[in-house]
Amino acid sequence: MTMSAQLPPGLQLEKVDERIMTLNVGPQHPGSGHMRIIVQIDGDYIVACDPDPGYVHRGEEKMAEYRNYITNIPHLERPVIHDSCNILYPYVLGAEELLGIEVPERAKYVRVIAAELNRCVYTLYWLAIYGIFLGHSTMFMWPSGDRELFIDLLEKLTGARVTHAYFIPGGVRNDMPANFEDVCLRQVRYFEKRIAEYSDIFYDNPILISRTANTGVLSRNDAIRLGTTGSVLRASGVDYDVRKKEPYDVYDSLDFETNVLKSGDSYARSKVPWLDMMESCRIIRDALSKMPKSGSVRTKLKPNPKGGDTSVYKRVESGRGALGCHIVSRKKPEPYRVKLSVGSFRNLIAMPYLLKGEKLGNMPSVYWSLNYWPVEADR
């Protein structure tokens, strides 16, 4: 890898390495999250970038091998507490297949609603950080405040504000409270109005567009080749959403669309989650209307269920992209191996690739537009 070949014509020097400055962005840096990015810059240009995650590695997969299928639930949601329903979803689906449990129809709808509410919670948090990374403090405060709407709904539904522990093999822990539908519809309708207001100040803001458009462009081929997922992939023009392509639970009966943008730059990557939130609102309203009004929401489990001698791979679409769970079972109450294939970890590979040759000022926007959540990637 010759560095001089990466530089613009005027900057190609013989001893280019003497001009390189190494910046440690993180883990105590305000623009990094819980990770370190070792950035080498030449003037204002990034010539090399080496992401160094692992500062919040907690060994969730190892812990899962020592706990049974039920007690794993509060642990496995820890990597993304803002998206805890979605990260539990593939595990729960896999456990249901391994343990041979049927899920009641109403529980499937409740699950979908909880998952979509959670996706909004996560995306709003992500958007808030994206705003502050671009120096837009209003975009930090508005989503943080509007997130309260969904946290409030989830708290009514599950009893906890962030770590819900709501999904369980066989359905969900508890039924909806009495007037949940009305409250949910009212707040979601308000949120749809509210989210449209983001466009004036953020998404249609000419300064933001000129700042993020055409930066960190990930072409369609590269997005596929690097195996990126979620909003990064859809911003690069690949129409792939697990909810559409491999519908789990009741997503095949719901009315929604996937949002695909062509340009593949930071702007598109930041806009796709915003559009997804609107679709989430649609899904919630659709699911509330199509849901069976009564019925059980949980199949009762045996006290200490054992899986077969097999393995499953289930995946769902989380806030950060496809989230797969590979569970290997060896006829024990505990899973033999649980592997979470998370979207953040898959998108991480695009980071050194995109940041090389960018300006230093684009580093936060490109980094965060990858929808990367350090805690989830480390697991």
């Binding site: 305000p30 623009g31 671009l134 120096g135 209003t138 953020f202 803001n205 000129s210 700042r211 000022g361």
Partner: protein, 445 residues
């Protein structure tokens, strides 16, 4: 071993956390303090009193030379203190430290910080400072200042210490020098320079130097990048800043800030030179390092830019300098484009009897003759000036809630291509107005 520990009084041994209390040490510390107080009073206090007594010319008030004795008697009788206050108000020290100079600017700066926090909070659907000071957090700034003062000042180990210490003070000093050039009301200006506009640019030219010096002396990567960015930004925006004012200078026919303010008694120049005003305003934002041009302090890229290594009150001083600078630039905009203090008379005229008889002050019945201390025109001018300045400050603060930060290459291309071009257009407009005989010295209006 224990005996040794006790014997040395817990002083030399690092592992002893609390030194053992001894009455002798306690008495010694008190005596130390008394000794130093006596030394300081002898070396500083008495010479100061002597200088005041024998070398400073005291003012002549009511036909009497003010002696310390007279001053003390006037302190006893409040009504007789008024002439001293009046005399004090006409000294240069008052102008520098209190009214058109530092005191007013610091007051406006403090107000700006408070308004910025509350307004930004409103815009972002928050509450903002709320609990400190009972009324909408009005004492929050004082609390923050107290916190900054009480914080430890940490100097990087390999910093160039003298320069690093001087930098914040020099920053505040430069900002105060800038403030001193601003005329607030007719006759009320600290330094009434003939070539006022040039003097302003000479002072502004110090800011990048101070910034780069502090960034360089910190000997750290992030301040270095921030300092270089600040240098780029300030230098490239000084050119359109100067060029955009040329139109006003040409039309007014003078470079004195007072003269420029007086030249727009009826119509402010912003009416004729809106392009120049817009360019000047954008340049102000860039020079002040405010969002969307806060690249030197971009916290998500380079931690806090050139402020990264400052701690405690050093950081507080830089912030004070920044807000003084903000006031000064807003005031400059007011003087150059909005007509300074000119405006219809809003201040109510003083009642006749107050001017002739003075004020009866409550139960003591101390009549204060010789009012008004400040005449009506001056108060009206200050009112208009502050109103306009506050309006400009509002527009300087507003983008912080609305825009994201821009990138350094966008910033430079904006400064070098667009704003310079626009300021030339502005100059041509001014020249056209001048040669058409509409405006300027000897013009129609």
């Amino acid at each position: 071993m224990e005996f040794e520990l006790l014997a040395c009084g817990g002083r030399q041994i690092m592992s002893v956390i609390a030194p053992t209390f001894r009455l002798s040490y306690f008495l010694k510390s008190i005596l130390d303090n008394v000794f130093w107080i006596i030394v300081l009073v002898t070396l500083v206090g008495i010479p100061a009193i002597q200088i005041v007594l024998f070398y400073i010319e005291m003012p002549v008030i009511n036909g009497e030379l003010l002696t310390p004795f007279l001053a003390l008697t006037w302190l006893a009788d409040p009504s007789r203190a008024i002439p001293i206050v009046k005399a004090f108000m006409y000294t240069d020290f008052f102008r520098i430290a209190v009214f058109p100079g530092f005191g007013l600017a610091a007051l406006v700066a403090a107000g700006t910080i408070f308004v910025e926090r509350k307004m930004l909070a409103k815009l972002q659907l928050r509450v903002g400072p709320f609990y400190c000071g009972k009324v909408e957090g009005i004492l929050q700034l004082a609390g923050d200042g107290l916190k900054l003062i009480s914080k430890e000042i940490i100097i990087p180990a390999k910093a160039d210490k003298p320069i690093f210490w001087i930098a914040p003070v020099a920053f505040v000093g430069t900002a105060a020098a800038f403030v001193s050039l601003i005329p607030v009301a007719p006759g009320w200006v600290v330094a009434d320079v003939e070539l006022g506009v040039l003097a302003v640019f000479a002072v502004i030219g110090f800011f990048p130097i101070v910034t780069v010096l502090s960034a360089w002396s910190a000997n750290s990567k992030f301040p270095f990048i921030g300092g270089i960015r600040a240098l780029h930004q300030m230098i490239s925006f000084e050119i359109p800043l100067i060029l955009s004012l040329l139109g006003v200078v040409m039309l007014a026919g003078t470079m004195s800030l007072t003269g420029i303010a007086e030249s727009q008694e009826f119509i402010p120049w912003i009416v004729f030179l809106p392009v120049g005003a817009i360019v000047f305003f954008i340049c102000i934002l860039a020079e002040l390092e405010r969002i969307p041009f806060d690249l030197p302090e971009a916290e998500s890229e380079i931690v806090a830019g050139w402020l990264t290594e400052f701690s405690g009150m050093m950081y507080g001083l830089v912030q004070l300098g920044t807000y003084l600078k903000l006031y000064a630039f807003a005031a400059l905009f007011t003087v150059m484009f909005l007509g300074g203090w000119s405006g219809p008379m809003l201040w109510p005229p003083f009642p006749e009897e107050i001017i002739t008889d003075g004020i009866q002050l409550g139960p003591i019945t101390a009549t204060i003759p010789g009012l008004p201390l400040l005449d009506q025109a001056m108060l009206n001018g200050v009112l208009w000036f502050l109103l306009k300045t506050v309006a400009v400050i509002f527009f300087i603060l507003l983008p912080r809630g609305v825009f994201p930060r821009i990138r350094i290459d966008m910033l430079l291309s904006l400064g070098w291509y667009k704003l310079i071009g626009l300021s030339f257009i502005n100059i041509f407009i001014a020249l056209a107005l001048l040669y058409a005989g509409v405006l300027g010295p000897g013009g129609i209006i």
